[in-house]
Symmetry: C3
Subunit: 158 residues, 3 copies
């Protein structure tokens, strides 16, 4: 029976998202089942910047939507971000080594069968509508996350 | 036999504490046994602001006690805190959705039988006395934490 | 059969590294097998400051090498760092309680048989050469990390 990896992606940072997606892609190449559950800031990674919609949002929800990253490439680094300078440096260093962009890792993971779920309560708190996320994502609540995670061989909170 | 969830709460941030407490409450509703082990900054969540006592503390312990959050409602956000503006925004957004306060989640978890432990070594390093914490907390050392966590079905470091 | 603990050390912060090393040392005293896999900022903990070498690095790799911590004692706190003041406070508080330095925990862990691995891809992205790390570290890729972690009884992302 296939092993199972479950990751709760809480943080909305470029480097942590990259690490999680590398693990997801690598695990699928090993035939490990992978679930990624995106909550709070992690939802920013799933935003489709062409679908962000301020209509129907409250004042604070609009402000929040404007102030948070609008998709994977806008995520900041967890450290040394310096208004984006550290991230530019890291991207330049990765291009030297010909590493792909974050969106390529997202698409690679989806193509390999990694399951993407967004946290229902986080979407409600942050005023994010399902239509604003990439279409491959399904909505899940905390109980469904726990049912999946408790059956997995390893769980990470990232 | 009941499944077991073990969480090590290291960070002292409002949003991470909220996520952990939602998982703890949800897990108990599913009859999963839950242990929360609070270490370092996570101890701020357990502080009883009416019992904080500077007597007998060293100079640095006093300074630390004054500069760290005095209970759950004082915890900052992990991102976009902007001297509290981001947190005010999130609380406003939650009130629109009628979500309860952090202390309600703490009390809910305690009422449902979530076990709360504080890390002995962290208390020594940070100069925190057991009397300064909410009374339901028991002190545990790293070995006791590991014994519990190694028997659990899932472990998260938050 | 011995229980197994696997930790992925992603963050390069003093307090999180200290927590991870305390768990590693304690687990070994309980005869638990321990693997620590250092990725991204976590690699800073393994740097040997006498061996850092800027030759052969690209412009950005040099800048990155200069701007990141050069070994365990240079790691900042995850919170309240205030240009190092918070860390000085914490170190003073630990000396009151006669706690050892981070490098003592690293050496203790190595002496007790904790296995230290550095992430191959992170080293490539950050331009870090094996010769710049402490000699006891072995290089591992994401697949080898996952194989080890999936067999462990608990996994933490720190």
């Amino acid at each position: 029976m296939a092993k199972k990896l479950n990751m709760l992606i809480f943080s909305g940072e470029y480097d942590k998202a990259l690490a999680a997606l590398i693990l997801a892609n690598t695990a699928r190449q090993m035939d490990v089942d992978v679930t990624m559950f995106f909550a709070f800031w992690g939802l920013c990674l799933l935003k489709n910047d062409e679908k962000i919609n301020l209509e129907g949002k409250s004042f604070y929800e609009k402000l929040f939507s404007i102030m948070t990253p609008k998709g994977p490439e806008e995520l900041p680094l967890s450290k040394m971000n310096f208004s984006g300078i550290g991230k530019t440096m890291m991207l330049e260093m990765m291009e030297d080594g010909e590493a792909p962009k974050l969106i390529d890792f997202v698409n690679g993971a989806l193509n390999k069968g990694v399951k993407f779920y967004s946290c229902k309560l986080s979407m409600e708190i942050m005023g994010i509508d399902k239509a604003e996320l990439i279409p491959e994502v399904e909505v899940m609540d905390a109980q469904q996350y726990l049912e999946d995670a408790l059956e997995a061989d390893m769980q990470l909170f990232i």
